[in-house]
Amino acid sequence: MADLAVDIGGIKSPNPFWLASAPPTNTGDQVARAFDAGWGGAVWKTIGEPVENTFSRYSSVDLDGKRMMGFNNIELITDRPLATNLAEIEAVKSRYPDNALVVSLMVESSQEAWHRIVRQAEDAGADGLELNFGCPHGMSERGMGAAIGQVPEYCQNIVVWVKEVATKPVLVKLTPNVADIVPPARAAKAGGADGISLINTINSVTGVDLDTFAPRPTVAGESSHGGYCGPAVKPIALHMLSAIARDAEAGDVPLSGIGGVATWQDAAEFILLGATTVQVCTAVMHWGYRIVEGMIDGLSGYLDSKGMASVNELRGKSVDRLKKWENLDLNYVIKAKVDQEACIGCGLCYIACNDGAHQAIGAERNGDRTKVWIIEDACVGCNLCSLVCPVSGCITMEQRDTDHDSINWIEYGEGKGTIEPRPKHGVTITAD
């Protein structure tokens, strides 16, 4: 069995699976049950000056029968008294000395307020601190959360204040609601952060009730934009995580990946793109703490199958595989291939290619069914047919030998080589 233990910026955890700062980490009872279920760490739901929440708080987007493909909330930070949270943190930490207990913090932008909350969290026994610079709704209107994460200078200033008194590692949780995630990451590092957690939720309006015209989640017929998360946001999170991992300046900061993690495969992808730990919220809100059992076993088995003794060997292995587009090989030629034995004759690939891509699939009726074939000269190897095909493995993309060496856009622009002849579009329309 591979070793799943990790160390992120000095915070030790028996495995990389953490609960994100969110409703599943609202109380000591919950965090204790999560640790019993197997979670390696938990980030306590953000503490600060207590707030009052609205009643209606969550809404979701379902897709083709899959519930909560995307999830949205307008819930604020903890609405429990600070003293209660601190007492429970202390109790949980004493019962679970080996688990990573990180406390998420958010207070007004004053040095004094930050110093006070850092000391309180550390005194309660926190293994680390996570600065919430990400909450995109409600708290940001009050100058906190994403309002900090969106301005690198504020971000850096507050990290500096925190580091003035902190004795435990400090993670900075960033908002994705920025044009470029790298500047705030660099600012966090410059301020002395020991790690970066991302992504927090994405500004969202999940939908509108078509009968009442009220947006969701509805609060007395009205709503407010919320924060979007769940499986829908994973690709955005993977991009932002990898953008930091690839950055020459901030790339060495340990990362805690957040955004749509629900399975061990999701976790492995985040780790391959540079994450040391992953944080989970929506999947637990959907299925409960027990999902971690499959995540632990699955990741462990996967590492074994790859001959890796520790999860640390997996980290970052795909970071260098992400490049700027201009560095990609223009002479990597692939073409679609249809396995006629496996084909069920639905014709989806034909219509997808003909209407939605490059008119490179032919079709004709063959008995009851549709017979399709790839028009090799027109196929640009875009993958679309293989993506829409309902039969696993029926359409594959095959690499073709070329007469030319690999060449990228920059080299091509500099006249350093030749590119393969490009496919031709099949149909030309004329004026009459």
Binding site: I344, C346, G347, L348, Y350, I351, D368, R369, T370, V391
Partner: protein, 410 residues
């Protein structure tokens, strides 16, 4: 969602199956119902009565993935049940043309023809000899497939569109063909088939010998109860779908042993293999290569006596003929014998139309547009095809209506 879906071609009424499923997926259930009912005005009863596994679902490409086709029949019922049974009328009678069409027979062919004509602005009046309309749709389809109340509910829905039905009106008795030909601009015959004729067996008059269609109808109206079948031995004569329906009904009525006796083999049986398999699962036995010889009893049926048969030379239709083999008769203990040996054509009724040509089996001869040989007269359904599915009758009725409409607008 197939690009060129084979289920559409497998449906006699060519329902745009991907089109209606797409609308269900888009939460447009009424739109889905409209797509179905525009192609098949009896789409609700067809959703329940159709042998989908040999039609749309049998053609589904997903059979090749995991043997599980898209559940088209269930989806269709999902869309049409609330509309048709809920009395939501999606259509309206077309602008009046002033033309009148008489429709003989209130079964699926006649009803669908009348409904389509109504949508096209013609006044369609259905003449039906029974107290209740619907023909076999109301009384002849096993209740576990299509409930009688649903069939009648669908007819109420057709009436809300503007279809007029004259019940208890036997064409030939209560109104003559000549009166219809004189009083209407066109005539559609959807008269279906007649009774199951007696086989001429000794003992066929004994109490306990039943007509399969009458049995099914009685069961649907609850005028027969399990008391009459519980613990009994039931013999069903015939090898078609009515025989299988009757046998499965006997099981449901509590028969202890139910045996289908058919003079040919399993492969020659005209009933659907999947229906026969269901019947077997329910405990129905099949005795092939056995022909009824006589019914033996004392006032009531006691024994069904059969003779062995064997395949002979292929006949002109390619089916093997049946020859009686030598050997002692086979006596099967029986309390009830059900005749399911096929309905007879309505020769005498149809004979009243002097220019109407029937083929050698008594079926009305029609062209591609369902025109008969008698000018101004169209026909469709069982009286033309010899007995097929509800959906075939609907397809014929609607096609005939289109042809009549074109003719009347000429």
């Amino acid at each position: 969602m197939c690009w060129d879906a084979p289920c559409i071609r497998a449906c006699p009424t060519a329902i745009d199956v991907p089109g209606f499923i797409k609308r269900i997926a888009h939460r447009d259930d009424l739109g889905a119902a409209r797509v179905i009912l525009e192609a098949n005005i009896l789409g609700d009863s067809c959703a329940h009565a159709c042998p989908t596994s040999v039609l749309c679902e049998g053609a589904c490409v997903y059979n090749d993935v995991d043997g599980r086709p898209v559940p088209i029949g269930k989806l269709q019922a999902y869309a049409t049940d609330p509309v048709v049974q809920g009395g939501i009328q999606l259509f309206e009678a077309g602008p009046a043309t002033g033309k009148r069409v008489a429709v003989v027979g209130g079964g699926p062919a006649g009803l669908s023809c009348a409904a389509e004509l109504t949508k096209r602005g013609h006044e369609a009046i259905v003449f039906d000899g029974a107290a209740e309309p619907g023909g076999l749709n109301t009384n002849g389809i096993a209740e576990y497939k299509l409930e009688r109340t649903a069939a009648l509910g669908e007819i109420e829905w057709l009436k809300s569109l503007g279809v007029t039905i004259r019940h208890n009106t036997v064409v030939g008795d209560d109104v003559t063909f000549d009166e219809l030909l004189d009083g209407f601009d066109a005539l559609f015959i959807g008269a279906g088939l007649g009774d199951i004729p007696l086989l001429g067996l000794p003992g066929e008059e004994l109490a306990g010998v039943l007509d399969a269609l009458q049995l099914i109808a009685d069961a649907k109206t609850r005028s027969i109860t399990t008391d009459e079948f519980a613990g009994k031995h039931v013999i069903v004569l015939g090898g078609g779908n009515t025989a299988i329906d009757a046998a499965r009904l006997a099981v449901r009525l509590g028969a202890e042993e139910t045996t289908v006796v058919y003079r040919r083999g399993s492969e020659e049986m005209p009933g659907y293999a999947h229906e026969a398999a269901e019947a077997r699962r329910e405990g129905v036995a099949f005795r092939f290569w056995s022909a009824p010889h006589s019914v033996v009893g004392d006032g009531r049926v006691m024994t069904m006596r059969c003779t062995r048969t064997e395949p002979g030379d292929p006949g002109p239709d390619g089916r093997r003929s049946v020859v009686t083999s030598d050997g002692p008769p086979i006596d099967i203990s029986a309390d009830v014998v059900v005749r399911a040996t096929g309905q007879a054509p309505r020769r005498s009724m149809l004979g009243e139309l002097s220019d109407l040509e029937l083929d050698s089996r008594g079926r009305v001869v029609v062209d591609d547009e369902h025109r008969t040989t008698q000018p101004g007269v169209w026909a469709g359904g069982d009286c033309v095809n010899g007995g097929k599915e509800v959906v075939n009758a609907v397809a014929a009725g609607m096609a005939a209506a289109r042809s009549i409409d074109a003719e009347l607008r000429r």
